[in-house]
Symmetry: C2
Subunit: 337 residues, 2 copies
């Protein structure tokens, strides 16, 4: 058993109350006493029990983070930024992987509720009611997701989102300027709020420019998902060329990477035959070939904003990460049909 505050108090010849005060740096204790307690504590290699403290104070010094997939670089970047930021304030992080399922997410919330001060839900797959219910139990930070406009926002809920509009709108205009007259969008997971945002932004801009938009559903928002989704619709070079999508926008960079791979396998040249745009700017230089034109929407920034929402008691009720288009080498002039 580890040393307790009682042992420290005894060894220092004071009461536990005084020991507690000394250890928490209260000024209601005379310096000489405090120093004695502190010295004894370090001699005894004393570490305060978080559990005891939590029970007494009602605050745990931990936060809970629930992600749809710990393996996805987007969430990994989010988690890294968030963890680093809160760790500096000596706050611990309980993680849960919901595997994209609402039931598991619910269970994880249940599990964490009692032992964290704040819950961070990244890209929650839960319905609005469940999110609202959670925020009735403890403060919640919703990241990369927003409640429906009709849902009243609970006081203890903060929302951090990515405004994909500027980036995706610019992406469409960029393709249009290159001469493309039809856009294909490879969508994200079924219940993804951000996927809907992206689709909406595309729909809006395509309507303005009078461009037809085709949306392709996809299972998993990763490399293999992108490969599989596109492989189904891309004919071999030399086959029926009329239905090759010439301008493709992907849900994220991983998916775009999969597209690049599927296109290469089928013998198509990027950007010669087909233009591809990703999202997140998450790939190191040289990872994609050709270098990927992408919508910048850093998940690390999202994580940093979530951290701020957790740490600053009077952070704004909502915050937004802006996006913009980064043009690189995977987009080019449309070829004549």
């Amino acid at each position: 058993m580890a040393t307790t505050i009682r042992q420290v108090a005894a060894a220092a010849g004071v009461s536990v109350a005084t020991a507690s005060r000394a250890l928490s740096g209260s000024d209601a204790v005379v310096p000489v006493t405090r120093d004695r307690v502190l010295r004894v504590a370090s001699d005894l290699d004393y570490t305060p029990s978080r559990l005891g403290r939590s029970l007494a104070t009602g605050s745990t010094g931990n936060i809970g983070v629930i992600l749809p997939d710990v393996t996805n670089p987007f969430y990994t970047g989010f988690l890294a930024a968030l963890e680093s930021a809160v760790a500096e304030r000596d706050i611990g992080v309980l993680v849960g992987d919901s595997h994209e399922t609402p039931e598991l997410e619910r269970r994880l919330i249940q599990r964490m509720a009692g032992q964290v001060d704040t819950l961070v839900l990244a890209s929650s797959r839960l319905g609005d009611e469940a999110v609202v219910a959670a925020s009735a139990r403890l403060p919640v930070v919703l990241a990369n997701r927003m409640l429906e406009a009709a849902t009243p926002v609970p006081a203890r809920l903060r929302q951090i989102t990515i405004d994909v509009e500027p980036g995706f709108s610019a992406a469409v205009r960029h393709l249009h300027a290159l001469g493309h007259r039809a856009i294909t969008y490879i969508d994200g997971p079924a219940h993804s709020w951000s996927g809907r945002q992206k689709a909406q932004a595309l729909t809006r801009t395509c309507a303005q420019l009078d461009l037809p938009l085709t949306t392709v559903a996809m299972t998993r928002p990763d490399f293999e998902g992108g490969r599989a989704a596109l492989a189904r619709i891309v004919p071999q070079r030399g086959g029926a060329r009329w239905d090759v999508p010439r301008a493709i926008i992907a849900f994220n960079d991983q998916v775009a990477l999969g597209l690049l791979s599927a296109l290469r396998d089928a013998g198509w040249d990027v950007p010669g035959d087909v233009s591809v745009i990703g999202c997140d700017d998450s790939l190191p230089t040289g990872m994609a070939w050709p270098a990927l034109t992408t919508v910048d929407s850093s998940s690390r920034t999202l994580g940093a904003l979530a951290a701020a929402a957790v740490l600053e008691p009077d952070a704004p009720r909502s915050a937004t990460v802006q996006t913009r288009l980064i043009v690189r080498d995977s987009t080019g002039r449309a070829v004549a049909g």
Copy 2:
């Protein structure tokens, strides 16, 4: 404030002790009473406080996991497998990112010590003494790392490692059989135990086959690290051809991907001019071009074994993940100098 067991007991007309027994499914309570308590509990939407329970029982139902980098796919796979396995047993996971630094790792251990039942240290950058000290405070599972042979292994320490010998030895023999007569190894981080294992396995096998081995140091074990490390030593095609490494083995797949990228930039063909071998088999099909010959050493398997070490009280003191060579398209016949 959430409902407490006292309120449940009162509402059910029993003592807290009986309520506690009913809720924990003890058979020392008559069914009718138990059902009543259970019904009241669910009516009141009661969730037991983990904190209270932990303090009373001395066990928290949480484990701590410390990784050098949550962003690295190797640890991400490890964490995912570990988290999924323990979550099924309703065990929570506190994560900490040590950013490859021993000091931060020490701080995280300190922070977690009081509130987890077991500590899982992945690729710990700590010295043996620090690891031994930690295992004196609570059970520790060391993953992808082993104490020095001279260090006595504490009773509460479990070690899960990857035996790179078979895979790396096969890699060298494979290259030798293809006619290669010199090997270059792109090493891992400075204090990495697994990096040393790999280097040793290569040294041993190269000595047996009388092959010269060149080791190149590297900063970060990722795509950019691999690109940077190789870019320094690879001349442009058409430049001084005599010093191009013709057979390269990388610390991991990410690094190998970086190599592929750097080689392509310099105009070299893989496997025509240069053969490249990775490690981990962590890339989806099509991610590397050409498909990467690699040493299979799944970090998910490592995570699953770590989970077993955490969950099974009498798991073996140590376990090992085996490795083997998977030959794909990135290795080919040596060209005449």
